[in-house]
């Protein structure tokens, strides 16, 4: 056994001296991770100057910097005490300003560290996340992290929308301020103005519940939907508030703000995952050296963890064996494998096509049946509810069944396991987002009579006024229904499937069926996709239903507590630990994709579709964007010309060229950096061989 001296300040850094450590790729990655991590240089400088005698004429700045790494030096505590004593002695010999500096510096640092501690304590749900991490690992914690991020984003968005759109409206209405309405309604065809969503005659109690769930009836003319907002400018003692402009700009700014936030967060994650995942590195070493959680204390959990590490290693070895087996196949076998893969992909496409067709038909059916005044389901409340929710039901059913089918047929393609997971995930993502897109397309075809604005229903008003007198509210209602149904499904599945499953499996352990079924495993990818889908629905609907972010915030907060409850009571720790790091970026990418998808209907409605003539803040305008162009034309000359210039081609084309050049430059830089890394790696080999 070596004497303890080797373990402390005699710690040998291997056969190489200090300089090459600074050139290690790992040092560069440390720098890459920002200023939180000290580079090796800083720690070593502290060490070197601390172990030698500290000269008395050393400038005070060095002393301040030396103090910082004292905690972080790899010395034993007695040594650190001795060093600190030395430093104190030196400080004691300083006079006047030097002493004051160091004293202030130390006080400042202590204050900073205390502030940092307090700030981290103030993080929402910090304790809950740590608890989850301790019991289930970082993989499942990443899901809750993501959920917390979504809650925060929705909360800020809700404040934004409420503050600029809803609250001013409420205030102005309460104060009964002088409305300056537009007088353009005389030019509008009278048939476009038939709109009375209020319930007529005697209304039964059940209708209220129906209306609450479907957004019609008494809910339709409320702050919840687009149709309620007035198209006026409030002028009050020199203070003028243009409601249509505020509505439009707030929505656009909300989408832009979410884009910025998600991009910033995904860039952070991307940086992390690009740097750390070399591709060539680390599955085995990572599992062995970073696989054990030192915080586990209960015997059962420890045993499970050991089993899961063992299982993972076996999986890796199997994958390796499979790869080698596949590489050794003849061309005929390979051709047959590719044929099978092609067939499976074709099957997937056929299934997706079938799903989309069902969704399209369901939406059409639902809208037309409910739009008619003499439809056969009126009066049968339950049937009406069913028909109203038919699109949501079909989408949810497709999203429950098809991923399971994908998971089964991907086994035929004989990919390695990690590839299988990724492929199934990709297909499920595509299904989810595309089903939403199909719903929107079918709504669009209804509203614009399949794009043909001259056909029978759409010629008078520019949109299908018979079925949708106030089409924005209809779209908002569909989004609202999707949100409500998503939440209800989640609640029902948790209560009616997960809790009973746990009870059955624990109460009847002898029954082989239950044992086969097993306890619930918390699957992170599918849960994250649910969250992304909900958020996409919220983004799509915000233009038509301004209070959707508020509802979404409440929904996600409830989901957090529900999922936490079901995690702790019903789920067992999974066999396969989920790799949080690479998946984080992937989830943010999918979220970004959802945002892109959501922007399309919003921008299309703003720039192309004519707004409803009878409701909403843009009634009577040509399109929604005209509110902005009118406002811009009222600005002073210089600003107006500047804004026109920015919007013109003369500005856009050079900007595009400049950005392309920048992108090519960055790509060249990235490839040269990776080349340098490879060169340094081979240099290391040469140095040691020499």
């Amino acid at each position: 056994m070596e004497p303890s001296a080797a373990g402390t300040n005699g710690f040998s850094w291997g056969s190489r001296g200090t300089p090459s450590l600074l050139e290690l790729p790992s040092n560069q990655t440390l720098r890459f991770r920002g200023n939180r991590a000290l580079t090796w240089g800083a720690a070593l400088e502290g060490l070197e100057s601390a172990t030698g005698t500290v000269p008395q004429d050393q400038p005070t700045k060095d002393l301040e910097e030396e103090e910082r790494p004292l905690k972080e030096l790899p010395l034993c505590l007695a040594e650190k005490h001795r060093l600190r004593h030395q430093q104190e002695q030196v400080k004691g010999q300083l006079r006047g300003r030097g002493l004051w500096h160091t004293g202030k510096g130390r006080a400042l640092r202590r204050f900073q560290s205390r502030m940092r501690d307090m700030l981290s304590q103030a993080e929402v749900w910090r304790g809950a996340l740590r608890n989850i991490e301790g019991h289930f690992g970082t993989g499942i914690q990443s899901y809750f992290n993501f959920l917390r991020f979504l809650v925060l984003m929705n909360f800020v968005a809700a404040l934004l929308v409420a503050g600029f759109v809803v609250v001013p409206n409420i205030v102005f209405e309460e104060l009964r301020l002088n409305w300056m309405g537009d007088s353009q309604e005389s030019a509008v065809n009278a048939s476009c103005l038939h709109y009375n969503p209020n319930p007529q005659g005697l209304v039964s109690y059940f209708t209220y519940i129906m209306d609450l769930l479907s957004g019609k009836g008494f809910m339709e003319l409320t702050y919840l939907f687009y149709g309620y907002y007035k198209n006026s400018v409030v002028d009050f003692v020199g203070f003028s508030y243009n409601i249509p402009l505020a509505y439009l700009l707030t929505t656009l700014f909300y989408l832009f703000f979410c884009l910025l936030w998600v991009v910033r967060r995904s860039v952070q994650r991307l940086r992390h995952s690009l740097v750390t995942e070399d591709g060539s590195l680390g599955t085995y070493s990572e599992k062995i050296f970073a696989g054990w959680d030192f915080g586990l204390t209960q015997r059962q959990v420890v045993e499970l963890r050991k089993k899961s590490i063992c299982y993972e290693l076996k999986l890796e070895l199997e994958e390796e064996a499979l790869k080698q087996h596949q590489a050794a196949q003849t061309t005929r076998q390979r051709a047959s494998l590719y044929a099978v893969r092609g067939l499976v992909n074709a099957l997937v496409l056929v299934l997706l096509g079938a799903a989309f067709y069902c969704i399209y038909r369901a939406t059409e059916y639902s809208q037309s049946l409910l739009g008619q005044d003499d439809s056969p389901v009126k009066g049968f409340y339950f049937l009406e509810l069913l028909v109203a929710y038919l699109p949501s039901i079909v989408i949810t059913a497709a999203n429950l069944i098809f991923p399971m089918i994908f998971g089964v047929i991907v086994g035929l393609e004989k990919y390695p396991l990690s590839m299988e997971i990724k492929l199934t995930l990709l297909r499920s993502v595509f299904l989810r987002l595309a089903s939403l897109a199909v719903l929107l397309i079918s709504l669009w075809s209804q509203i614009t009579c399949n794009g043909d604005l001259q056909s029978w229903g759409c010629e008078t008003c520019g949109y299908n006024v018979h079925i949708h007198p106030c089409w924005e509210t209809s779209v908002g209602q569909e989004m609202y229904k999707l949100l409500v149904f998503d939440w209800v499904t989640l609640l029902l599945v948790t209560l009616l499937v997960e809790f009973p499953r746990k009870m059955l499996v624990t109460q009847f352990p002898s029954c082989s069926l239950f044992r086969l079924w097993g306890q619930q495993e918390f699957l992170v990818p599918s849960n994250v996709l649910d969250l992304v889908y909900g958020q996409t629905v919220c983004w799509t609907g915000v233009l038509f239903c301004p209070l959707l972010p508020v509802l979404n915030t409440l929904k996600y907060i409830a989901i957090f507590y529900l999922k936490k409850l079901t995690l702790f009571t019903n789920c067992r720790p999974s066999d396969r630990t989920f790799r949080a790091s690479s998946a984080n970026f992937f989830f943010l990418l999918v979220l970004l994709l959802g945002l892109m998808l959501a922007c399309v209907p919003a921008l299309y409605s703003i720039f192309v579709l004519p707004p409803s003539k009878v409701c909403g803040p843009f009634r009577g305008e040509l399109n929604m964007w005209s509110a902005v162009s009118i406002a811009v034309s009222k600005l002073p000359d210089i600003t107006r010309d500047f804004l026109y210039f920015i919007g013109s081609l003369g500005f856009a084309v050079p900007l595009f060229l400049l950005l392309s050049i920048l992108m090519f430059y960055l790509m060249a830089l990235a490839s040269s950096c990776s080349q340098m890394v490879m060169d340094l790696k081979s240099q290391l080999q040469l140095v040691s061989d020499a």
Partner: protein
């Protein structure tokens, strides 16, 4: 907790605060845990820096370390006399490095020491095999163990000497994004 504690002088507590990642309160609580392990050996009054060391068996039986397959190695890496006996300083040091606030580099140094079973400052194949056996409770077959160890050395050995030096280890760890979070003992300070 008032200022009336007589376990440490204020100077000592300041020194601990500067040299570890704990606050005054946490140091006092740690002292409480240390005292609990052997109430008759550990004095309540530390103002005169008594030279008390607890043997490894007592430390390894703490609930935080009992189930840890590397418990013994952790204690050995922090022990000053090389036999696994921990003084209070070593005790505090150990939990300071394993706490949440310790930076990655510091943890990497001690992780290397922990995995280096034969303490020759290199992680060689036999060290890896012992680590693997600790991790998987010997459920892998002999040849699987050998295969995995070979793969690890293949992945992480940069200078081609067949074993992992500290720089190889550090380089590999810096690429493992999840390294920092598992390498800590939480809730040591909960009563």
């Amino acid at each position: 907790m008032g200022n009336k504690q007589t376990i440490f002088t204020d100077e000592q507590l300041d020194a601990y605060q500067d040299c570890t990642f704990f606050t005054r309160k946490e140091i006092l609580r740690l002292h409480g845990r240390y005292h609990e392990l052997a109430p008759n050996m550990v004095p309540m009054d530390y103002t005169r820096d008594p030279d008390v060391k607890l043997p490894i068996q007592l430390i390894v039986n703490m609930p935080e370390l009992k189930e840890n397959p590397f418990g013994e190695r952790i204690v050995m890496s922090f022990s000053e006399d090389g036999d696994g006996n921990l003084s209070f300083n070593d005790f505090v040091d150990m939990f300071s490095v394993l706490s949440e606030m310790a930076p990655r580099e510091l943890k990497a140094i001690y992780a290397f020491k922990i995995y280096d079973f034969n303490t020759d400052n290199f992680i060689c194949k036999s060290d890896l095999e012992k680590t693997l056996n600790n991790l998987t409770k010997e459920e892998l077959t002999e040849e699987e163990v050998v295969l995995v160890c070979e793969k690890v050395i293949e992945e992480a050995d940069m200078d081609g000497d067949g074993k992992l030096g500290f720089s190889d280890f550090e380089n590999m760890i810096s690429k493992a994004p999840d390294f920092l979070s598992p390498f800590k003992i939480r809730d040591i300070l909960q009563p």
